[in-house]
Symmetry: C2
């Protein structure tokens, strides 16, 4: 590995920007977002790729596949003369898919530039193996976009817990039920389908005892026509109350964790047998449960579905967050990953949010509301 020149650095920055944009097309979850760009010796972009979530090709492999599809149609420079820019160091381990270091060597790619070191540790990264095999491999450090791309994913990993997604479907005025408790038709069909796509990604879904008792959810992941998918998340009920014997979520596997504490739920999930690790967790609510996870700083990604209606009364979607005064508010950022930060789903609006760690840095965020 060697140092790069200033001109190379500028080009690297631009290409890593492209790789970050590509990475943001993927969904967040058990795996980090990764994007890759393959360029010709003259800098022309020949192919891009990104990771589409657990069990699918890694970004490098996806980009190589795109290169090969294109090479079947037209004449491209050979891969030995090409460079791949990747937002993350290629992996060197066998997970669900093979190691990317192997794929890059097999493809004969001439040069590799990556931004963030493999988070599984210095011995596991693929850069050393690539260099040992004579590939021109350089870490391009200091790329802000690549470093930020998986900020919460790295944090979850550092804390030894799953990546945690939360779901909240509410009215414009932040309520999840009307005054009489009716709650089941707030958001529309397209929002429900999106929520099932999210369910299909996760290993387990947490709901409170109150939700089980009032709504009796099945907590299954279903396809567009309502049929159960093959791979189903583990239903986890959090709370002190008893679960009715005929509850719909009593399936082959389910858990009741008799606690109000998110940390205790995580501990229980960590102690599960290793055949079915919980690496991506979905918090569906209700309000008490969801608020406890947000208050604990344990929500990495929030899907906020807003139905275009107002109720004026009824249960709010979020309750005690431990916020007494405005400066202690829980701040979020719009998250551009996975289809964009703001989406219309039928008549609803979906906000895709990620918690902001340092709201005080956001100076433009401070003004008098009524003047």
């Amino acid at each position: 590995m060697r140092a790069t020149t200033l001109e190379e650095t500028d080009r690297d920055t631009v290409l890593l920007d492209t790789a970050v944009t590509e990475a943001l097309r993927g969904p967040r979850g058990a795996n980090p977002l990764v994007g890759a760009v393959i360029t010709a010796p003259d800098g022309t972009v020949l192919a891009t790729g990104h990771h589409r979530g657990r069990g699918t090709d890694h970004a490098e492999v996806d980009a190589l596949a795109a290169y090969r599809r294109r090479a079947g149609q037209e004449s491209l420079p050979p891969l030995r003369d090409c460079t791949i820019h990747i937002t993350l160091e290629p992996c060197d381990h066998h997970g669900v898919t093979g190691p990317c270091s192997r794929a890059i060597l097999d493809a004969g790619l001439g040069a590799v530039r990556y931004a963030v070191p493999d988070p599984t540790g210095p011995d596991d990264g693929g850069a050393a193996r690539l260099a040992w095999h004579g590939v021109d491999v350089v870490q391009v450090s200091g790329h802000h976009g690549a470093a930020q791309l998986n900020r919460r994913w790295h944090r979850a990993r550092m804390e030894g817990r799953p990546f945690i997604t939360a779901h909240l479907a509410q009215s414009l005025d932040g309520r999840v039920a009307a005054a009489d408790g009716t709650s089941q038709w707030i958001t529309g069909g397209p929002s429900r389908r999106h929520a099932h796509e999210v369910r299909a990604r996760v290993d387990a879904i947490v709901v409170g005892t109150g939700t089980v008792i009032s709504d009796d959810p099945r907590l299954t992941a279903r396809d567009a026509v309502g049929a159960d998918l093959d791979r189903q998340p583990l239903p986890v009920v959090q709370g002190l109350r008893e679960i009715p014997g005929q509850a719909a979520l009593r399936r082959a596997d389910w858990l009741h964790v008799r606690t109000r504490s998110p940390q205790q739920v995580l501990q229980t999930l960590a102690d599960q047998p290793p055949q079915r690790p919980v690496r991506h967790l979905l918090i569906e609510g209700g309000p008490t449960v969801l608020s406890a996870w947000i208050a604990a700083g344990l929500v990495d990604e929030l899907f906020l579905y807003q139905a275009p209606l107002a109720l004026g009364d009824g249960a709010p979607g979020l309750t005690a967050l431990g916020v007494q005064t405005l400066t202690d508010a829980r701040h979020f950022d719009l998250d551009p990953a996975d289809g964009g930060s703001i989406r219309r789903l039928g008549r609803d609006v979906l906000l895709h949010l990620t918690p902001l760690d340092h709201p005080c840095d956001q100076e433009d965020h401070v003004h008098r509301n009524h003047l």
Copy 2:
């Protein structure tokens, strides 16, 4: 005036679609949204125009100006061979600007197609005058987009009241203050600037006594650097409590209407001296006042500013709307007018909404929320 052929009708529909899209670029308020399209004899669009709000050119005049700018650069067919499609019948009265029927006659336009009759009454519309002067003028009836364009504006006019815009700046969880009552920095600078643009359009601003006592707003319309604009809305305070003698809104003109009833506020405003009619009213809050206007069906347009933060406690932005059960919810539609239905303003998200009159027609809006 004569009947049109089927082929003409198809072309009229397409051109009125374009005129509606054009109209939606304007702001809602005292005047209806209007769009216009001028086409060559072969159907080519030569110019478009729209109304940008009270005191600015009407859509026909705006389109004629666009035609003339273009005609100064290139050779265009003369206006006598051209057709103008307008979403609304040209006016025939002198308001702030001259009558559009006159402008069309002066320009020598050969043909006029309009969708919706002039709402000021059968004697006031410009179509009859245009026909009398030999212009080929036809009302194209049944254009849904044009009919819907000013649905709430027509309703306000029919009810003999101003067009009513409402403003609500809240957290993601629908709160306008934290548990300790702090409320003044919820949304950011770009949202505040937008709110001042809206203030600059209106004739009067309604706030509750509670807002005056807690926030002491000036209720002035200010430009981007914070300087007061020449034309200022009338501050109107609604409620039973006394207004402090040093309240910032005690300016040359202001009103205190000692009532909780929106209808009584409207009555008082209707009885004001005619030099300063209130044709566009802004409801700024707080929650009790805003909820009363929404519950009375008197909000035509809602700007909902959402700051990306959660509070979990504190005053909700909407309170009693008279909704007991979910099927009685107050439904809204996203309003594409005036810059779009969903906008990012700095870190905030602005939803532009209009009340939906018949939510039961929206079948896709009904599903079970948790399954």
